[in-house]
């Protein structure tokens, strides 16, 4: 855990955000949301709704996709994050776990973890070791595979590594992009437990998911994006009971009970 609690408890504020790709394609329109300090907020929506775009805007990687913020503001605590590079986000304590895991396949597990701390500049070996111990406490499986190439891990292990890598930057806000994607139900369950545990240790989480069942069970608050706009938002429990969410994102016939292992969202 980062040892220095900030004077003010920082929260992520996204205000009236507009994002455009290639100067023409509008991907987000006037999106606002807040992730309070220590909270878990879920962002639901179908493919192409703009979930990943929102995360890119926060983490500063829009430019790699020829996208740009054309309106609105993003603040984390006192730090403005709109139009900044990814280093600024990492330094501010906002770290993203990319969709599809994106571990460095040719690098070892250990090197992947080391890479997670690159944005923080030079750090004492003790601090790096403490970070690694924390990751291994979450994911003992990684500790057994430190010298193995990350590309040879199973999908679930790669997701663990991707989360562990982000934790090495000691984030205060973790942006998770579809952590359940392509994983077996048991592994989805395990990842959900870890996210809960990370949050319990004081890290706020913005969780982007198509697996609405998992996301709503973790989150305090949720937003539903549809074609670039926030369609619904509210406390996660309430949202889970609305007919639209149950039908579209929980894959339920309206009126039946929610199955325990909620299926993938329906576009």
């Amino acid at each position: 855990m980062p040892a220095s609690p900030p004077a003010e408890e920082p929260a992520l504020h996204v205000e009236e955000l507009d994002v455009t790709y290639g100067r023409a394609l509008s991907a987000l329109r006037s999106v606002s949301l807040t992730v309070p300090h220590g909270g878990v907020v879920a962002l639901l929506g179908a493919n192409g709704a703009g979930k990943s775009t929102l995360l890119r805007a926060v983490s500063g990687t829009l430019r790699l996709h020829r996208g740009a913020i054309t309106g609105g503001r993003i603040r984390y605590g006192d730090t403005a994050l709109d139009g900044r590079d990814p280093v600024a986000a990492v330094r501010a304590g906002v770290v993203q776990v990319p969709e599809g895991r994106r571990v460095f396949a040719g690098l070892t597990v250990d090197e992947n973890l080391r890479s997670g701390g690159l944005g923080l500049g030079r750090r004492s070996p003790a601090l790096v070791r403490a970070g690694r111990e924390r990751v291994f406490a979450f994911f003992p499986r990684l500790a057994e595979r430190t010298h193995q190439a990350a590309g040879l891990l199973s999908g679930g292990e790669q997701q663990m590594l991707a989360i562990g890598r982000a934790l090495m930057a000691a984030p205060r806000l973790l942006l998770l992009d579809e952590p359940s994607l392509g994983l077996a139900p048991l592994m989805v369950h395990r990842i959900a437990e870890v996210v809960r545990e990370i949050n319990a240790q004081g890290t706020a989480v913005l969780l982007v998911e198509q697996n609405a069942g998992m996301a709503l069970s973790l989150a305090d608050h949720a937003h539903v994006l549809e074609v670039g706009e926030v369609r619904l938002s509210g406390p996660a429990g309430e949202l889970a009971r609305t007919d639209a969410v149950r039908r579209l994102y929980l894959g339920e016939e309206t009126g039946t009970d929610r199955p325990s292992d909620a299926g993938q969202g329906v576009a």
Binding site: S59, G60, T61, R63, L64, R66, D85, P86, V87, A89, V90, R91, V95, Q96, P98, R102, V103, F104, A105, G106, L107, E111, R114, S115, G116, G117, L118, G119, L120, R122, A149, G151, L152, L153, S154, G155, R165, A166, A169
Partner: protein, 298 residues
């Protein structure tokens, strides 16, 4: 038998110098996705600067300064000419073409300055030779092997143990994921170009040392022989570049050494041999010796 040992030693010396150049290609390609066609002109620049400065500064001083200046020029080329505007991972092809333009400008100017001259770099080895058991080797070649081994070892250590090396390898695997970790891509890139420039300047010294006659305006073209070496190695693998360079160096030395026996192939086959080897290897292993796509489980 002595002939064979001589040829092998020559090949080793040539290969280790090519490795300095090929490593530069690989470092630049890994960091920026650019095939640096201006590498030969950087090499020529490093050699030229050493040649003009060695009278005043002595060989060591001139070489050190030339290495630094060439590194700075390479870094500046990347920062000022190639990395323009928005960071764009798809711009590598355009930037590769830009390096051709840079090469033309640099080579033209350096050729104008050098003219028809043969410049000495003032290296301390001269034409002295020594006996190592059954074979006789030029001191300059021994120096080439020793210095290259030390420098290449240092470069490999940089890759493995420094934050820059890790950043470079991570970015080569996945630019966006590396960016999300807070890797400053433009800085990592520029440093990679600096390193490649420094290696090229150093290689120039050994390429024009005895038994080569000296620095000519065409010296930079030797970089073209390191190009198949880098490709042989898979283009993204430093170890592959090293192996490829050794293969090319040995091929060239052996073909030159046994030229009379290879008369069927005509004169000057030594110049073609690197490319012939490259084609043969790529026929068997299309991704190069070490250039696997990376085993991945999804």
């Amino acid at each position: 038998m002595t002939g064979l040992l001589d040829n092998l030693l020559n090949g080793l010396a040539l290969g280790s110098v090519y490795a300095l150049v090929a490593l530069g290609f690989v470092v630049i390609f890994k960091a920026s996705g650019v095939l640096n066609f201006a590498h030969g002109s950087l090499l020529l620049l490093g050699g030229y600067l050493t040649a003009v400065w060695h009278d005043d500064l002595g060989f060591a001083g001139a070489l050190a300064l030339a290495v630094l200046v060439t590194a700075a020029v390479a870094g500046a080329l990347d920062r000022l000419l190639l990395q323009r505007g928005e960071p764009d991972p798809h711009a590598a092809h355009v930037q590769t073409i830009v390096t051709i333009g840079i090469d033309i400008v640099l080579v033209t100017d350096l050729a104008r300055r050098i003219g028809g001259d043969l410049l000495s770099l003032g290296d301390p080895w001269g034409d002295s030779v020594r006996d190592l058991g059954p074979v006789t080797v030029a001191d300059s070649r021994l120096a080439a092997v020793v210095v290259s081994a030390v420098v290449i070892g240092a470069v490999f250590a940089l890759f493995r143990f420094t934050a820059w090396g890790l950043s470079l390898r991570a970015a080569a695997e996945d630019v966006e994921a590396a960016a999300l970790m807070g890797v400053r891509l433009s800085r990592v890139r520029a440093l990679a170009w600096c390193l490649a420039g420094a290696l090229a300047a150093l290689a120039a010294v050994f390429l024009v040392a005895f038994p080569a006659p000296g620095l000519e305006r065409t010296t930079g073209q030797i970089a073209l022989k390191a190009f198949p070496a880098a490709i042989l190695g898979g283009m993204t693998s430093p170890a592959g570049a090293l192996a490829g360079s050794m293969l090319i160096g040995l091929t060239e030395a052996l073909v030159a050494g046994y030229q009379s026996e290879l008369h069927v192939l005509g004169e000057g086959f030594g110049d073609v041999a690197p490319y012939a080897v490259m084609v043969l290897v790529l026929l068997v292993r299309p991704t190069g010796l070490f250039g696997t796509k990376g085993a991945a489980r999804v």
